[in-house]
């Protein structure tokens, strides 16, 4: 690779279209980008503000609620001489000497509820400004979430909680953090009461604490009559702000890959890229040079968004962690698009490819972010790191690696496979997308050990798909474990065998049973070694989730001695056997391969299911 030439190609990539854009188009683009840059931080931090000023409040200037109302943008202050304004419907809340009175309407009730929450927020903000924080917050609570299954076990062993009255809070043997959480809520409410008088006169949380308060209740939004509820009632069910932030970061990437995919594909149409290939530059110079402007553009855009958001949110310059976290995602988008543009034969096909990439990778970025309260799931997406960075939360090194390494390695795999196709023989070939996939996989393979290496190379890709599947299937309840086991078996068996089939399709090996078994052993061993990347999951505690345990590690909990050795060797045997089954089919034809693959998947599923049922 020659950096000078790479940069020259990058400069050319940026400037070659300069003459094709008129000034009006450039002006429109600049205004659009500037508008996005201005609006994005405000929307990201403050929300979309659709409810600004919807509640009309009449409040005295010397009322203790005056600052509360001023602090909440949903309220708008209206001048009113008497509480008749409530009757006339010109205000929703009247705050006078008799306290807070809502209008006799649903909107009035909603305004009242909003004021109550707003008062609570205001009080907490005031307390946070206190010099003596111990006095302001005398009880410190650490909230930890526990799996339902383990909680039920402990409850069963304790007091036999059948009717819900004996909550974890009353179980003396249960040291569940939820107890503390409820205590904390009591204190917060109490403080709130002191500060807000009648508005803070809410006993529900305090009552719930001594009765059937839900575990882990932080904000306590259950209705006053309820003593228990579903987990969804406990916390805000949808992390809107996190998703808006994620959305702001992902949207520019979706636009970017359209332009990037087009420029890559245009090199292949009409053989335009042929003259670059015959000039004294390497294909890495070409690919790197053509990719660099898009990568740099993405990082500048994402960086500007991150810095802007940090500044708006915290009033300080920052966002470095966000940029580092977003970089693998940018590379993943670009890598997948690059490979896709090597597969597509026309802009029509490229559209299909980029839409697929957009949907899959946006899901990968979004879905884990929904599980904001489950660290190990949320951290599957690098955007979670970004959101946490913007919110000023600490990010551990292990979490950072867990979150960023899989997409980074996957991006490298995409670029590697695509680079293999960036040559005269493949670039201008009109084979179908499936044919190109086989070309990409078979390209680097000429010896049996290459099969094992290729299997290892595909591991990050497998890992990312499995993580995405875990995030997607996590909410499916009892079905989640069987479903994830199916996904695991399918993905892993394809990853172990597709390149073997591609090798046979390209006449790389003799179609004898002996050679097929050798290839199966190579692939199985390669996968076994590469699979150890799943240790990353254990580093951040993903194995604490049953579904992740089932999907990623196979689980060897609470076993020892010979059983441990068995469980270390059994996956190796499994991977070799199933890869050999697929290879035996692949040596014949596509139909035989698909049949053998189905058998291998079935064997893999039965193995995993047995292990999970027995030991997880």
């Amino acid at each position: 690779m020659n950096p000078r030439k790479l940069l020259r190609i990058a400069r050319w990539e940026v400037t070659k279209n300069a003459g094709g854009l008129d000034r009006r188009t450039i002006a429109v683009v600049v205004v659009a980008v500037a508008g996005l840059a201005l609006v994005a931080p405000v929307v990201g931090v403050g929300g979309v503000g659709v409810d600004d000023g919807i509640y009309r409040v009449a409040v005295d200037d010397d009322s203790q609620y005056d600052d509360v109302v001023a602090n909440d943008s949903t309220f708008t202050v209206r001048e009113a001489s008497s509480r008749d304004a409530l009757e006339r419907g010109t205000v929703d809340l009247w705050i006078g000497e008799r306290g807070v009175e809502p209008a006799d309407s649903r909107k009035g009730a909603a305004a009242y509820e909003e004021l109550r929450e707003s008062a609570s927020t205001y009080n907490n903000q005031q307390l946070a400004k206190e010099g003596n924080q111990t006095a302001a917050f005398p009880v410190s609570v650490t909230v930890q979430f526990r799996e339902q299954a383990s909680l039920n076990t402990s409850l069963g062993a304790g007091s036999g909680n059948s009717d819900g009255d004996d909550s974890p809070a009353t179980d003396p043997d249960d040291d569940s953090p939820s107890t503390g959480g409820d205590d904390s809520e009591t204190d917060q409410s109490g403080t709130e009461d002191d500060a807000t008088g009648s508005v803070g006169d809410d006993d529900s949380t305090a009552d719930g604490n001594t009765g059937g308060a839900p575990p882990g209740g932080v904000t306590g939004p259950l209705s006053e009559d309820e003593l228990s509820g579903s987990p969804a009632d406990i916390n805000p069910p949808f992390p809107f702000q996190s998703l808006v932030l994620a959305f702001i970061f992902v949207i520019p990437l979706n636009f970017l890959i359209q332009a990037y995919g087009s420029t890559m594909l245009s090199e292949r149409l009409k053989r335009r890229g042929e003259l670059l290939l015959v000039s004294p530059v390497t294909r890495l110079d070409i690919i790197g040079g053509k990719t660099l402007p898009y990568f740099a553009g993405a990082m500048v855009t994402e960086g500007a968004i991150a810095v802007g958001l940090v500044y708006v949110a915290r009033g300080e310059l920052g966002g470095l962690i966000s940029m580092l976290a977003i970089m693998p995602l940018v590379l993943l988008f670009l890598g997948a698009t690059f490979l896709g543009s090597m597969f597509a034969r026309s802009f029509k096909e490229l559209t299909f490819v980029t839409v697929t990439i957009t949907v899959v990778l946006t899901s990968y970025a979004f879905v884990p972010a929904i599980f904001t309260d489950i660290d190990s799931l949320a951290l599957i997406s690098p955007l979670t790191l970004v959101v946490r960075d913007l919110q000023g939360e600490a990010i551990g090194f292990q979490g950072f690696i867990f979150s960023t390494l899989p997409p980074l390695l996957s991006a490298l795999v995409f670029f590697g496979l695509g680079s293999g196709l960036y040559r005269e023989e493949d670039m201008f070939d009109q084979r179908s997308i499936s044919g190109k996939v086989l070309d990409a996989l078979a390209g680097p393979i000429s010896r049996p050990y290459h099969v094992g290496v290729m299997t290892m190379i595909l591991i990050p890709f497998v890992f990312v798909i499995q993580l995405l599947a875990i995030a997607l299937l996590f909410a499916t309840g009892d079905l989640s474990v069987p479903l994830i086991l199916v996904v695991v078996a399918v993905v892993e068996e394809i990853a172990k065998s597709l390149h073997i089939y591609a090798s046979y399709d390209h006449n790389r090996f003799d179609a004898t049973a002996r050679v097929a078994i050798v290839l199966g052993i190579a692939s199985g061993v390669g996968f076994f070694l590469g699979e150890k990347i799943a240790l990353l999951a254990q580093l951040v505690g993903l194995q604490n989730l049953a579904v992740a345990e089932a999907g990623l590690s196979g689980g060897v909990a609470d076993v020892s001695g010979p059983v441990v050795i068995l469980f270390l060797l059994a996956p190796l045997v499994l991977h070799i056997v199933t890869a050999a089954i697929s290879a035996l089919g692949a040596r014949k034809n596509r139909r035989a391969y698909l049949l053998a693959l189905a058998v291998a998947i079935a064997v893999h599923f039965v193995y995993n299911f047995t292990v999970v049922r027995s030991f997880v």
């Binding site: 030439k5 020259r8 190609i9 050319w12 400037t15 070659k16 279209n17 003459g19 094709g20 009409k270 053989r271 335009r272 890229g273 042929e274 003259l275 670059l276 290939l277 015959v278 000039s279 004294p280 530059v281 390497t282 040559r423 005269e424 023989e425 390209h506 006449n507």
Partner: protein, 292 residues
Amino acid sequence: MIEAWELRKEYGGFVAVEGSSFSVDRGEVFGIIGPNGAGKTTTLKMLAGLLEPTAGEAEVAGYDVSETEMRHQLGFLPEESPLYEEMTPKTYLDFFADLYDVDSAVARERREETLDDLDLEHRNRQLGDMSKGMKRKVAIARSLINDPEVLIYDEPASGLDPLTTNYIIEFTERLAEEGKTIIFSAHNLFHVESICDRVAIMNEGEIVARGDLDRLQDEYGETTYHVYTTVEIPESVRENGRYRTVVESMEAVDERREQAQAAGGEVVDIRTEQSSLEEVFLNVAQSGRPGQ
């Protein structure tokens, strides 16, 4: 300057080029002709380092074709002119000059000189707005921007109007006179015949005949003798007051002379005609593969 040893290229199970060996001397113009699918373009692309040979080796200007340094010595013109149509001739040529490490001042001078030679105007117009002939001229200028020792031109005048075609062929002749080593493929055998020193004829991936034009005509062509007599003899046709008989050997000429004398006349003219390259090519193609 160019050496190829047993080049072979296989795509899947299809053999595009098989056992192709030849050499081209410095300053020589070497033509490759053959029907569509004969393997001409594949051979040229292997020499240009675009395609990796399945077997065999090749050197250009003393470098193995897989070496990047070889490309500094090479100007390659593919059959189509795949230009970046949003660029202008100036920006396009400057970009490639930079990739070939040509000093910018030298590149500017060379660019203007070449475009002058090629009689190309509108140098700031976008390539997409140019005619096919103008685009071809820009493509040729690009192949010369690094002042290469070796030129590989694949169908340089393909699909162009007769005037532009003639211009490009003459330009290529001038390049040959300047000492460039040129390897050249064409469908139009007249072009090959007019500028090539030696020719290889390819068919079904193999070189089936090679050599200078005289040798090819001797080996694969036919020499015919047109005997003009004052009197009618067997198989003669009347033509401008004389009788013309076409024979294929000097022995037959002697026979016609005797026949004319016997009829009271004489032979007044004998003209020799040799097969064109096209006829040689057709003969070779129809005779099948070498040895058959």
